[in-house]
Amino acid sequence: MYATDLRVVAGDATLLGPVALTVGAGDWVNVIGPNGAGKTTLLRALGGLADFAGRVDHHGKPLEALSRRERARGVGFVAQSPTIPAGLTVEQYVLFGRAPYLRPLAAEGPYDFEVVARTLAELGLAGLSEREVQTLSGGERQRAALARALAQEPRLLLLDEPTSALDIGHQQEVLELVDRLRRDIGLTVISTMHDLTLAARYGDHIVMLASGQVVASGPPVQVLTGPHLAAHYGARVDVITHRGQLAVVPIREDGTPSSLSAPQPSPRTKEHRDARTQPR
């Protein structure tokens, strides 16, 4: 996938761009950036869901040269919090992923049901196919949304903050699943991420956006640096290496990584020392 001079404009305001981005087949790229940086806008433009100027190619073909249905067969999109109508079962929901392959007024055939059954099995949802999606847990629901996108048999999967509603266990479960699928079926993944440590852990490449511009792009070690995060997030963090992997750790003004550290009088500010030594 290849994008150049990509811009998204709303009225007089430029929401995004110009952005240039190249993503190889089978890569996993995470898009990070502070709130309002244009992460979701970028994702939607790359999938052809937002009007854009410039050029986006999917597998060598310009996006606007593809019909909607052709595009939908190649690109799966999972929204940050998918809208799922009450009463809809997992099987009904995942079957919607076959829509791009159906002619108008046609019904799903045996192959469509086979794809759905296979996808449900791959994602560990086979036993839940008759359950209502709204009654599932957060992790199960996110897997159902992934299954719906994967039933499109896409080559590119766009995920908008796939883990934002999940606890850390389910975050790992969903991201591990995406990674396994990426390896198994050669899926290309572009995901927006809020959690920087997870963004470093999964995926090969990070794009950092701020105010609609790409401000850093490259492997996690090059993008996730203290100065970058300070400049664009206004964050005070340490980027540490733990077991050979990056971790982004918020720091307090006194320099201790977290309040769990042994309480030591800080030499830097009198206020802090006073606060810490006050009896409870």
């Binding site: 939607r44 999938g47 052809g48 869901l49 019909s67 909607r68 249905r69 595009r71 939908a72 067969r73 690109v75 799966g76 999109f77 929204a79 998918p82 809208t83 799922i84 109508p85 009450a86 009463g87 809809l88 079962t89 099987e91 009904q92 079957l95 919607f96 992923g97 829509a99 791009p100 159906l102 108008p104 007024l105 019904a107 799903e108 045996p110 049901f113 086979e114 759905v116 059954a117 709204q134 996108a149 499109q152 766009l158």
Partner: protein, 348 residues
């Protein structure tokens, strides 16, 4: 493996049962009235009316005329109106992802009301089957109101449909105000206008059926044909687009079809409320949220619903008639409130 029953299409047995219910109520509605007629006579006369079939039914010509010229057009008109309103309500609920949307959401009722009021006050016309001008004014008014709401509402924010609903509310309020102004200057027309507003199947003849049938067929066909895409639209515009649906075009097409059908229905029958809410939600309780099931079932079951309501309207206080809009509202309002209560949970 795939289940034997398709998860989102209506089973053939459901469609057959719905059609049988529709036919049974249609037959009962033709047979029951001030003069009760045996089913066998009704059947014989109707079969005799079919092309190339001749039955020596032995029914008196006057009785046969009651069947074919008085009751049959009224029953068929009620069925068509019921089908159109139920389908349009279902389609609007899908289009706006709002379970409480009904066919008059974008101002069709206010537009038709103003059209009728203009026709009756400014031209000195009067109500009745012999006045196609009033019917056409209602039709034009309804189309105009929805077109205005669409033009105003879709430019601001074409994606969510929320501004479209607000524009519909504004247009309806404007048209209602203009209608009040006109009626204040001409109080003789007030009665006629209100008689029309409360529903006027009682003056129905074949002319009304001929006027409504083509619009109804096109509108219901287009909405049922869009059912699968409306299922995708229920997931949100972005996800629908990612599945290959042009959300803006689908919304415009469905609103256009629903408005064509609703405007024609309102023009021949007056304002009949709640059909577009009751029928889809009653079906939803049994058939689930898939519009591929809801839309065809609503198109069929709207027929017996409104035929039955009309039957009640003309028999409960016979020989007097209750306006059908009152019957559907008296049944519909409590249902609507129960629905609201049930909807407290899990809806935005």
């Amino acid at each position: 493996m795939a289940s034997t029953r398709h998860p989102t299409r209506p089973p053939a047995s459901w469609l057959a049962a719905a059609a049988a219910a529709a036919l049974a109520v249609l037959a009962a509605a033709v047979a029951i009235g001030p003069i009760s007629l045996p089913f066998s006579d009704v059947a014989a006369v109707l079969v005799d009316r079919l092309p190339l079939v001749s039955v020596d039914h032995g029914v008196a010509p006057v009785t046969a005329a009651i069947i074919t010229e008085v009751r049959l057009p009224r029953v068929i008109l009620a069925g068509l109106v019921g089908s159109v309103l139920a389908t349009a309500g279902t389609a609007f609920q899908a289009t706006f992802r709002n379970p409480l949307a009904d066919p008059y959401l974008l101002g069709a009722a206010g537009g038709a009301g103003l059209g009728v009021t203009v026709a009756l006050t400014e031209t000195g016309g009067s109500l009745g089957t012999a006045n196609p001008g009033v019917t056409m004014a209602a039709f034009a008014g309804a189309l105009l109101a929805v077109a205005l709401a669409y033009a105003l509402g879709s430019s601001a924010d074409g994606r969510s449909g929320a501004s479209l609903i607000l524009a519909g509310v504004a247009v309806a309020a404007l048209f209602a105000a203009l209608q009040t102004l006109l009626l204040q200057r001409d109080d003789e027309a007030v009665r006629d206008v209100y008689a029309w507003l409360l529903g006027r199947l009682n003056v129905a003849g074949w002319d009304e059926v001929r006027l409504l049938a083509p619009s109804a067929a096109v509108a219901v066909g287009a909405m049922v044909g869009a059912a699968r895409r409306l299922d995708l639209l229920a997931l949100g515009d972005d996800e629908a687009e990612s599945l290959g649906v042009n959300a803006a075009r689908l919304r415009l097409g469905v609103i256009g079809a629903a408005t064509l059908g609703t405007a024609a229905a309102v023009a021949v029958s007056g304002l009949i409320g709640f059909v577009g809410i009751i029928v889809p939600h009653a079906i939803r309780l049994r058939a689930g949220p898939s519009y591929r099931r809801l839309l065809p079932l609503a198109a069929i079951l709207g027929v017996p619903f409104l035929c039955g309501a009309d039957l009640l309207a003309r028999t409960l206080l016979a020989p007097a008639e209750i306006p059908i809009g009152v019957v559907t509202a008296v049944v519909g309002a409590p249902f609507f409130l129960a629905l609201l209560r049930a909807n407290r949970v899990g809806r935005a």
